[in-house]
């Protein structure tokens, strides 16, 4: 393995193609941490945004006027404002209003760190789109199915979790897929509030080694592969959830 990494040092000496995140063990560690951080942030946001989408879509069908209004207000605000401004708003504005806590060394630190705020803000951002996506799926379920379930004594929550949501899920998976891919790409914004994810670490490395071109190309390829894996997983999931005889 070490000879494989050393080969890149030779490559640098011979051709000038500088890939320090392969031959330098320190940079390799940084890049790997950044990669893990991107995956961690993506998974946390994917999870919470889908949860927000499911709950939001249920509340949107509520019979209470104000519940629906609040959900719609949330969707419109998060869809029509830039995610970066949302991130800054959460991190700087709301973060500064929260109380500070004492850490292990007796110093003051904010209640929530940059990773937590990035996770919260991006989950809400993607969640707003997910609510809309789930709603469009729910609309595809005919009223008669809901009525049949009600006739069998299901209550509203049971109808949602057992009848309409599983059906809606299959209809809206392509759109959900698209939004989740966007979410993974949006995690790069966490760079702006110093979450040490892949773009941030790449920036550190190119600041030290002045190899912007190589790092940029590596980043593009890395995200391309990351998104490729996600799309592959989602597509195979979509296939396995397919209703026989429905759709092409």
């Amino acid at each position: 393995m070490e000879t494989f990494f050393e080969w890149f040092r030779v490559l640098y000496d011979d051709t000038g193609i500088n890939l320090p995140f392969l031959y330098d063990s320190y940079d390799r560690g940084r890049m790997f941490d950044g990669f893990l951080m991107t995956i961690k942030l993506s998974l946390v946001c994917l999870f919470f945004s889908v949860i927000i989408g499911i709950i939001g879509a249920w509340l949107q069908g509520s019979s209470l006027k104000w519940t629906r209004r609040i959900i719609n207000g949330y969707i419109q605000i998060f869809r029509n404002t830039p995610p970066l401004v949302q991130l800054y708003f959460f991190y700087f504005a709301i973060g500064s209003l929260l109380p500070k806590v004492q850490n292990d060394w007796g110093g003051q630190e904010p209640l929530l760190g940059s990773f937590a705020w990035a996770a919260i803000s991006l989950s809400f951002f993607a969640g707003a789109f997910n609510v809309e996506i789930f709603r469009s799926g729910l609309e595809a379920v005919p009223e008669s199915t809901v009525e049949a379930a009600e006739a069998l004594g299901f209550n509203r929550l049971q109808v949602y979790t057992d009848i309409t949501l599983p059906l809606a899920f299959r209809v809206c998976l392509p759109a959900l897929n698209n939004n989740l891919v966007n979410l993974v790409k949006t995690t790069t914004l966490a760079y702006a509030i110093a979450v040490p994810e892949m773009l941030y670490e790449a920036n550190q490395i190119w600041s030290d080694n002045v190899n912007v071109t190589e790092m940029m190309l590596f980043l593009l390829v890395a995200y391309f592969l990351l998104v490729g894996v996600l799309v592959w997983v989602m597509n195979s999931w979509e296939r396995s959830m397919k209703i026989p005889g429905y759709g092409s």
């Binding site: 949107q60 995610p83 970066l84 800054y88 500064s96 379920v141 429905y246």
Partner: protein, 282 residues
């Protein structure tokens, strides 16, 4: 026919039809913006109550910096319009390449589209900022390339890929009978594309295209990360100039949220309206 037979086999699902639950129809209302305004004002007053009497009030500070911030916002709009123009022109060409009869052109255009569509906007922006020269010379004439222009190019790359997909999707959504009918009337491929297919596609492409424009407008703030002095950078500078007062953070950032909302919201509503108007009946 296929659709109806699928329905008779499986009556549990209808595609894009059926009424919403409880007959509730989602339609965005203007008061959603009022909430944002309320947040802006509320945070201003809360902060005002917290701040010491010696300093100027939060609302005064906001009013003092508002012209500068709005100028920055106009700059954002300029970037978005340029990026959209470049992206649409190149994306349309790329999209037509994706439906070319030539396999090589089709493959290359598909790959380029997928590559730029699946890369984060911010990474592409960094890409353009660092890899484009700050000036280039044509026949000894030096043409400077300011950073905002580089940011515009960087933002137009993902727009290009998305427009390419919109064009391809719209062309593919037309029934193949259109192509066959044109062929039987002895139209050449180019004539079919320009005189029959594309005019019908414009209607279908408009809503997603406008959606993309709204997304692009919101993405222009990314340029602040790479040092273009647009509204986000100016907000940061204004806050620094006020001496880093923490009570100003919430009102200033919610003000930025508000101006973007005011701009993007009508576009979103109009898109919904057009989508309903152009919806294919079936």
């Amino acid at each position: 026919m296929k659709h109806t037979s699928a329905q008779s086999i499986l009556p549990v699902l209808l595609q894009g039809k059926g009424k919403a639950l409880n007959g509730f129809d989602f339609s965005p209302k203007l008061w959603h913006g009022v909430i944002l305004l309320a947040v802006c004002l509320l945070t201003s007053t809360i902060s005002f109550a917290q701040s010491a009497p010696a300093k100027i009030s939060v609302i005064d500070a906001l009013f003092r910096w508002m012209p500068l911030l709005l100028q920055g916002f106009v700059f954002n709009l300029v970037i978005s319009v340029f990026a959209m123009a470049i992206g649409t022109a190149s994306g349309a060409a790329l999209g037509l390449g994706q439906i070319s009869p030539n396999v090589a052109i089709r493959k290359v255009c598909w790959f380029v589209t997928q590559f730029f569509r699946n890369s984060p906007w911010l990474v592409l922006l960094f890409f353009a900022m660092f890899l484009l020269p700050f000036e280039f010379s044509v026949f000894g004439l030096k043409i400077p390339l300011p950073d905002w222009l580089k940011a515009t190019v960087g933002l137009s790359l993902p727009v290009m890929a998305n427009v390419s997909e919109i064009v391809r999707g719209a062309v593919n959504s037309l029934p193949s009978g259109q192509w066959e009918a044109a062929e039987s009337l002895a139209f050449s491929r180019r004539q079919t594309l320009w005189e029959i297919i594309l005019p019908q596609c414009v209607k279908r492409m408009l809503p997603p295209w406008m959606n993309l424009y709204a997304i692009l407008t919101m993405a222009t703030v990314l340029a602040s990360i790479v040092g273009v002095s647009e509204v986000m950078t100016l907000t940061g500078q204004a806050l620094a100039a006020e001496g880093g007062r923490t009570d100003l953070l919430a009102p200033f950032y919610s003000f930025v949220l508000l101006i973007f909302f005011i701009y993007c919201y009508p576009i979103a509503r109009w898109t919904v309206y057009l989508e309903q108007k152009f919806a294919v009946k079936g």
